[in-house]
């Protein structure tokens, strides 16, 4: 999996600056839309650690995302410096519990095992009073340590989500260049070879699974913080499939692929609802076209960005 080259990073950086400047010129609605895309990008990025880096296709990621979101509610909305690490911890621990079991399986069976665990988390919040029931509920936003007026809120959350995404992306870029990162990518290309070379493949996969889980929990936390709303649907396998689609749209072979894919999907959904009375039809057609024709994803179009292997 490639990490974007220098020119590529510059473009991403410029885009980030552009987004950071939105409070100066954009409407509240557009800032909220971009915030949604940033949280989705973080979620898809967490899944990319499994799919693009390690080659593990999991349907449990949404369960971990939702767990991170509900942690805010379950804790009673203490300040954010408690909820943020708590959400990551909760999701990470859940991944640590699920991981050793799920990773005993491979391929299709791994897909089904993660589906099973993801759905178990879904039912835990959907069928029991734990999550406030099927309708979901509004939560009090954790305090940020400084007061934010209603008018300032879209801008503050935009910058907050942008910062979190930038930090995580930067961290993952670095990680991919370390021994661990290379080992994970080695597993994706040929697991047996990695084992033959003496790597503890199971331990490496588990590390990836827990890291991905913690990041998914972080994304869920940011979602709860931004929307002040949680519902069991956040944990459903449909959401995991949507994240997979973002990765496919953006390019499975690039670390920044999920970011591009998330923005593309949010844009398509918004355009669909503006221009048509049947937005889900538009979404379905786009999915189908992407799977049929878009093997490399959006990232793959920009050939000059391909780093030398």
């Amino acid at each position: 999996m490639i990490v974007a080259s220098r020119p590529g990073q510059c473009v991403l950086g410029a885009a980030a600056l552009g987004i950071a400047s939105m409070p100066l010129w954009a409407s509240a609605w557009h800032m909220q839309l971009v915030s949604t895309a940033l949280v989705a990008a973080l979620f898809a990025l967490s899944l990319q650690v499994l799919v693009g880096a390690t080659g593990l296709v999991s349907l449990a990621q949404a369960g971990l995302f939702g767990l991170g979101a509900y942690t805010v509610h379950l804790l009673g909305s203490p300040p954010v410096w408690i909820t943020l690490p708590a959400a990551m911890l909760a999701a990470g621990v859940a991944a640590l519990l699920i991981g050793p079991l799920a990773l005993r399986t491979k391929g299709f069976f791994f897909l089904m095992t993660t589906l099973a665990f993801g759905q178990m988390l879904f039912f835990a919040f959907h069928d029991t009073p734990l999550g406030g029931g099927t309708d979901g509920l509004f939560i009090v936003r954790p305090s940020l340590g400084f007061s934010v007026s209603r008018a300032e809120r879209p801008a503050v959350f935009l910058l907050l989500n942008l910062s979190v995404l930038a930090i995580v992306y930067g961290g993952l870029c670095w990680l991919m260049s370390t021994m661990l990162g290379h080992a994970l990518q080695g597993i994706r290309s040929n697991e047996n070879r990695m084992a033959a070379l003496g790597h503890n493949v199971q331990r490496l996969k588990l590390i990836a699974f827990v890291l991905a889980g913690a990041l998914a929990g972080l994304a869920g936390h940011m979602s709860a913080l931004t929307d002040a709303f949680v519902s069991p649907d956040l944990l459903g396998w449909h959401r995991s499939a949507e994240a997979l689609l973002m990765i496919l749209l953006g390019g499975i072979g690039a670390l920044h692929g999920p970011i591009l894919g998330a923005f593309a999907l949010v844009a398509i959904q918004e355009a669909g609802s503006l221009l048509s009375d049947r937005p889900r039809l538009v979404e379905g057609v786009v999915f189908l076209a992407a799977v049929l024709f878009l093997r490399q994803g959006i990232a793959g179009w920009r050939l000059p960005w391909r780093a030398r292997p």
Binding site: V57, F108, F109, L111, T113, F117, H126, A290
Partner: protein
């Protein structure tokens, strides 16, 4: 207490048999072709809507059954030729996304053609009575009929797979596609046939279920996850395995909903996880 338990066992068996009908198609499709089809629940829904349409036009549900079977076979064959043939060798990720896209498209198609309301499908007049089962609780004669029909189909399928040449081709295809070609079968035709058959079974299940649970958007969602659970527990490609697994899942789900409703969903998924970890090839398969 005992009354309730017996009634729930009957419920569980009937639900399980309907689940078998849906899952048998899925296990064959995955076992033989190696294709994950998330849109299988939508096929169930299409069968139910088809039954509603035919029953509304002609007043007869019995007519809807052959229509669903034949329509399903044709639809399945077309889907296989146009789409799934190309995806047999692609990564699971692509298959998940393709069939997820199909779910959206089928839902929108249904919405355009049949609208979004709940529709009730009347039980056929001749079966519209209640059979007293035990202590004040009666069972709908139609439900008993569905139970019998499912058993007949199950027997027919097992006979087809185990005793006929076509069946041996399917079993061979499940194990090794190249061997199939060497034995003189056209692998492509076997695949089309299996996909057509699987689709027909799902649509038949939908048509039978229509009077039992009404026809509404998203009615296939619950069955989709359950049928994957059945396929995994029963073993990929094994019709007999799917039969016993479906009964097990149907009973656990029903008893769970009756006695511990908040745990029912979790329990069924946990069962799949346990099987995957302990006996990934399935509890009831031969290997």
């Amino acid at each position: 207490m005992l009354t309730g338990l017996i009634a729930q066992l009957l419920n569980g068996v009937q639900y399980g048999l309907l689940l078998f009908l849906i899952s048998s198609g899925l296990t064959l499709i995955f076992g033989v072709m190696g294709v994950i089809n998330l849109a299988h629940g939508s096929l169930f829904m299409i069968g139910a809507y088809l039954a509603f349409g035919v029953a509304s036009l002609t007043g007869s549900l019995w007519l809807a059954l052959p229509v669903a079977v034949l329509g399903g076979a044709v639809f399945g064959a077309v889907l296989e030729r146009l789409l799934f043939r190309r995806f047999r060798t692609r990564a699971h990720l692509d298959q998940v996304l393709l069939t997820f896209a199909l779910i959206l498209l089928f839902e929108e198609g249904r919405s355009t053609l049949a609208g979004n309301q709940f529709h009730s499908v009347p039980v056929p007049g001749v079966l519209d009575f209640s059979v007293p089962v035990i202590g004040g609780f009666g069972y709908s004669a139609y439900r008993l009929a569905v139970l019998v029909i499912c058993l007949i189909v199950a027997a027919g399928l097992v006979w087809l797979i185990e005793r006929t040449r076509v069946g041996s081709a399917i079993r061979a295809a499940a194990e090794n596609t190249e061997m199939l070609n060497l034995l003189g079968f056209d692998a492509g035709r076997v695949h089309t046939m299996v996909f057509a058959g699987g689709t027909a079974l799902a649509m038949l299940a939908g048509a039978l279920a229509a009077p039992l649970q009404s026809v509404y958007p998203g009615m296939g969602d619950g069955f989709l996850i359950l049928s994957f659970i059945v396929v995994v527990i029963g073993g990929l490609g094994s019709v007999a395995g799917a039969f016993w697994a479906a009964l097990l899942v149907g009973l656990i789900d029903t008893l769970g909903k009756a006695y511990l409703p908040q745990a029912a969903g979790i329990a069924v998924c946990a069962m799949m996880a346990v099987v995957l970890l302990w006996r990934p090839t399935g509890l009831f398969s031969r290997t």
